[in-house]
């Protein structure tokens, strides 16, 4: 026979099913949040690390004149070299069924696709590997930018020949490749046999090297790379154009990834705390409601430990139910979330299973957190003397109202038990309001901060827009003569003005003898109207400047030696000379850049040929600009110019926005999760209020209140709490959004200009208003259904 005590626990759970549902949901959302957020984070980090480590990422990449296998063998002999691989990489223009205009494809060709020893690629199941002649395997991230499928044919433009078709035969994942959605260009792997078809030579022009990992630093890697360039390449008469030495062990997306992962961790902990609040709230209220029953049970012989066990058992059942709901829900959603994030971050996920400790933590959150939250209120409830327990619940709380504060004060002296009880009651209610408000306020603050991050991103892009005074940009494979070129472009329909720049990869000699190889110098006409520089110190270029260089803030940040007034030695395309820094301009998100007058740069290089053209359009319509750009490209191709890449500024802006949008989309998911915790909290608190006010509601009904007016009283209460949380949340969001933006900006290395989002605050005001009314609908409905008879029976 089942014990009556167990019967009572089960009966309480089922007869107050609405409360049971709320408590279970409050706990389940915590389990869910921990599972999705922390589980997602752990899986992403684990899969990323695993794949990155397995890929043999290069410690240096040398961009060189053509070389062959013999050089690679020499490099392998070089001290400190573990692995080396030669490959050819080229940008070609292609069209396919998914895009009418031409797109850029980065073709990477390997001599032996079966054994890629550095920066390994992992072929996907579908399709086949290796690609044969006339075939291409696309890097998996291409799926993010278009509906690419096995069997598609790319029509690739060739300089001196008719276009050639290559067939997509599969996909392969390269964790080190720059994802297509970030770069705007797809990557494809081909065999050496295909190179002649594309009009490309069967030689290497890139060397990927892995060094001995023992005590490897960026500096030491740099030194070895320089040694290889000098002793192997240059000694054999092969020019090295640029060397890229990343920080060892750090992926280029690592910073974004770190930001996302940190964010997930912080939000996971926050969600956990909020869920703890909810549980504390509901369990405290439950005990407050049951004080009299506790008293009765003790009056008929119940031992405090027996009664405690009953209530902890009840909370335990809540926990088991919450885990039963939260755990599978988290598993399903977590899988979706991991897939979503993995696609964006271009991570290949082998196993979606979170580590065991996350599952253990979910179960602990579901079972232990509620019990911990319950221990204090249950203990307080069951230790209360029978006399107080019976009298406390027997008297309507409103009758205490007036003297409560006095008693609270009186209690400070020695806390006699009756005082302790009423003090506890007060605290329960105030505490509930505080906890509900805290939950909703935090959620509101996070939501509004997300608006602010979005607003800051918009502002940053607006700043970029202010810099860009042109609409389209064309890059050439080889330097070309500006005059003829500009005449051709000007003749195209839809072009209003054109200007051409010289771009030179630049190496800066640092004071300590090391070099920064990653800079780029743009030679622009001094009186250009194609950019509107925002000068932060010094001045912009002036006509007649011969040795003046302007740096952007990104360059200054990377190289503090580039301050205004400093003299610096720059090597461009092998020519070294001294320049004078005259000004600093705001960065344009393109990374560190230097600007000189076009004439000065031409003089320095001994060549006036330009490498890119910027074009102003007659229209501001993005669609029409795209068409104009296609017309320009066709005309240039016909005139024999090799175009490397074209883009409209509108596209570039979208690309930047979508990169930053990734962070925002993560933030939005998390904010939505927090907001739902807040809403469940509000509904819970409102329901508790309704239950505790049953007698008052009955009295109001008895003296003529209609269903409607009761309904309104409670929805208004919900609205007031919602609006309070909005106001408090806005106050919290002010600093929070600033630090969030600054933190994101720091970790992803993109300078964001902070802007508070007043429209976001306004929007959330309306939204939280609606949400809090919706959240109180169910409790208010229950309140309106209270009959006078119920209220009296509630005794």
């Amino acid at each position: 026979m089942r014990s009556v005590r167990v019967t009572k626990v089960l009966r309480d759970l089922s007869s107050h099913w609405f409360r049971t549902l709320l408590v279970v949901l409050s706990i389940a959302i915590g389990v869910f949040a921990v599972g999705v957020i922390l589980g997602g984070r752990q899986v992403l980090v684990r899969e990323f690390d695993r794949e990155y480590a397995a890929s043999q990422p290069p410690n240096a990449v040398l961009y060189t004149a053509p070389f062959d296998e013999r050089i690679v063998r020499d490099v392998l002999e070089y001290p400190g070299v573990e692995a080396a691989l030669g490959r050819r990489s080229a940008e070609v223009r292609y069209s396919w069924r998914g895009s009418p205009g031409l797109r850029t494809l980065r073709v990477v060709a390997y001599e032996d696709l079966e054994s890629i020893s550095v920066q390994k690629v992992v072929p996907e199941q579908a399709g086949h590997w290796p690609p044969g002649r006339g075939e291409i395997v696309l890097e998996s991230s291409a799926k993010q930018t278009g509906d690419y499928r096995v069997g598609d044919v790319f029509t690739i433009a060739r300089e001196h020949d008719d276009p050639v078709g290559v067939k997509v035969v599969g996909f392969a994942h390269d964790v080190n490749a720059f994802p297509a959605q970030f770069s705007g260009a797809e990557t494809g792997f081909v065999s050496f046999a295909t190179l002649p078809d594309l009009g490309l030579p069967q030689t290497f022009d890139q060397l990927l090297v892995v060094f001995d990992q023992d005590g490897l630093t960026q500096r030491s890697a740099s030194r070895v790379a320089e040694g290889i360039a000098r002793d192997v390449f240059e000694a054999n008469g092969i020019a090295v154009y640029a060397t890229d030495v990343p920080k060892p062990g750090s992926h280029f997306l690592g910073d974004i990834f770190k930001a996302v992962s940190l964010l997930l961790l912080a939000l996971g902990i926050l969600a956990l705390a909020l869920s703890g609040f909810l549980v504390t709230n509901t369990v405290s209220a439950l005990m407050a409601q049951h004080i009299k029953q506790v008293g009765i049970m003790k009056a008929v012989g119940g031992h405090a430990s027996q009664v405690t066990a009953m209530y902890l058992g009840m909370v335990g059942v809540y926990g088991v139910m919450a885990v039963a709901i939260g755990l599978p829900a988290a598993t399903v959603t977590g899988k979706w979330f991991i897939g979503y994030a993995a696609d964006i971050l271009n991570i290949r996920v082998v196993s979606h299973a979170p580590p065991g400790w996350v599952t253990a933590l979910e179960i602990a959150v579901g079972l232990i957190v509620p019990l911990l939250a319950a221990v204090v209120p249950v203990h307080a409830g069951t230790r209360m003397s029978v006399a107080h327990a019976l009298s406390a619940a027997g008297v309507p709380t409103t009758e205490f109202g007036h003297g409560r504060f006095d008693r609270l004060l009186g209690g400070v002296r020695g806390l006699p038990r009756p005082v302790a009880l009423s003090l506890r009651n007060t605290f329960l209610r105030k505490g509930r309001l505080a906890l509900t408000l805290a939950t909703l306020t935090l959620a509101s603050a996070v939501v509004m901060s997300v608006f602010c991050v979005q607003s800051s991103i918009d502002r940053t892009i607006d700043d970029l827009d202010a810099w860009w005074r042109y609409d389209m940009e064309i890059r050439y494979e080889r330097p070309v003569d500006a005059q003829v070129l500009e005449r051709e472009i000007r003749a195209v329909d839809g072009v209003s003005d054109v200007e051409s720049w010289i771009t030179a990869p630049t190496s800066l000699a640092r004071a300590d003898g090391t070099r920064n190889e990653t800079l780029v110098t743009q030679g622009v006409p001094a009186d250009t109207t194609f950019v509107a520089p925002s000068v932060t110190s010094g001045r912009w270029l002036e006509p007649g400047d011969t040795d003046a260089v302007v740096v952007n803030t990104d360059a200054l940040k990377a190289e503090p030696d580039l301050g205004v007034g400093r003299r610096v030695t720059l090597a461009m395309l092998g020519r070294e000379r001294t320049w004078r820094v005259v000004g600093v301009v705001k960065g344009q998100m393109g990374g560190p850049a230097l600007f000189t007058t076009r004439d000065a740069l031409a003089t320095c290089l001994g060549d006036a040929a330009v490498s890119r053209s910027v074009v102003k359009s007659t229209t501001s319509d993005a669609q029409e600009q795209q068409q104009t750009l296609e017309r320009i490209e066709r005309r240039l191709e016909e005139a024999g110019y090799a175009v490397a890449e074209t883009h409209t500024v509108a596209d570039l802006r979208d690309q930047v926005a979508s990169q930053l949008g990734i962070l925002v989309s993560f933030l939005v998911i998390m904010a939505a999760l927090l907001a739902s915790v807040g809403v469940i909290g509000l509904t819970g608190a409102m329901s508790i209020n309704v239950i505790e006010s049953t007698r008052e509601i009955g009295v109001m009904r008895a003296i003529g209140a209609t269903h409607d007016s009761i309904y309104r009283i409670f929805t208004t209460e919900g609205l007031v709490v919602g609006l309070m949380s909005w106001a408090l949340g806005a106050v919290v969001a002010y600093p929070l959004s600033y630090y969030l933006t600054a933190g994101l900006s720091q970790t992803i290395g993109v300078p964001l200009t902070y802007r508070f989002s007043w429209s976001g605050v306004g929007l959330w005001c309306a939204a939280i208003g609606v949400i809090s009314i919706v959240a109180s609908l169910a409790p208010a409905f229950r309140a309106s259904q209270v009959s006078v008879r119920d209220a009296i029976a509630y005794e």
Partner: protein
């Protein structure tokens, strides 16, 4: 009467409530002896200290000073927990507002004290509960929830619950206060029957008619036993 023969004895019991702004003395030195089989009525006007007094006897509340010995147990010296167990087996408590647990059926409410105090085997418990419900003429209502019962039925169920562990003493605070006179009469009849079975009953009441019929009536006034009236001495009955 010798001290040992009394079932219940109070010596100089004082109760001071210090909740209000000024401490309030609700009981001012109560001395009382009750013997097995007595039916004691406590009467007095509202606020005189009747509930306070009965709460001292049941151990629901603690005296400020004085001694309370019930069936050989020094009640005032017990902890809350010891009290709960002791009370469960020694005193059946009947409240003015019935106080049945709303989510348990009538039968389960009666089973609860036996469950708490581990009295009898589970099978015997049900049989006993049904027997008690028959006694109070509620056997046909056993599986209903309290809310579905009338006030009188609820109070009879509460009495059955109070008798669950077969305690020698029954303490009732205005058990008929919420019942009409006819129902009150039925409950009172039940009590008289219990006295026949050698239970000792202490009952607070406002009902003057009923007060007239108890064998021993204590008149409480201003925290003291102002008057004691013994109607029909039990000796020889």
């Amino acid at each position: 009467m010798s001290e040992t023969s009394s079932l219940l004895s109070l010596r100089g019991v004082v109760k001071v409530y210090d909740t209000g702004e000024v401490p309030f003395t609700a009981l001012r030195g109560i001395d009382l002896e009750v013997h097995t089989g007595e039916f004691v009525g406590i009467i007095g006007k509202s606020g005189s200290g009747k509930t306070t007094l009965i709460n001292m006897i049941t151990g629901i509340d603690h005296p400020t000073s004085g001694e309370i010995v019930v069936a050989g147990t020094r009640v005032h010296a017990l902890s809350e927990n010891e009290l709960a167990r002791w009370r469960g087996r020694t005193i059946g408590v009947v409240f003015q507002f019935f106080q049945l647990l709303p989510t348990l059926t009538v039968l389960e409410n009666v089973l609860l004290p036996m469950d708490f105090c581990h009295m009898w085997t589970p099978r015997e418990r049900t049989a006993r509960a049904m027997y008690l419900l028959e006694q109070v003429e509620l056997a046909d209502q056993a599986d209903k929830l309290p809310a579905a019962l009338s006030g009188g039925q609820q109070q009879r169920a509460a009495i059955a619950r109070a008798l669950a562990n077969d305690p020698p003493i029954l303490a009732a605070d205005e058990p008929t206060g919420n019942l009409d006179s006819k129902t009150a009469e039925a409950v009172f009849g039940l009590f008289e029957g219990l006295v026949q079975q050698h239970k000792t009953i202490i009952m607070v009441t406002h009902d003057n008619d009923l007060a007239q019929r108890v064998r021993r009536a204590l008149h409480v006034s201003d925290g003291q036993i102002a008057e004691e009236r013994v109607l029909r001495p039990r000796h020889g009955a």
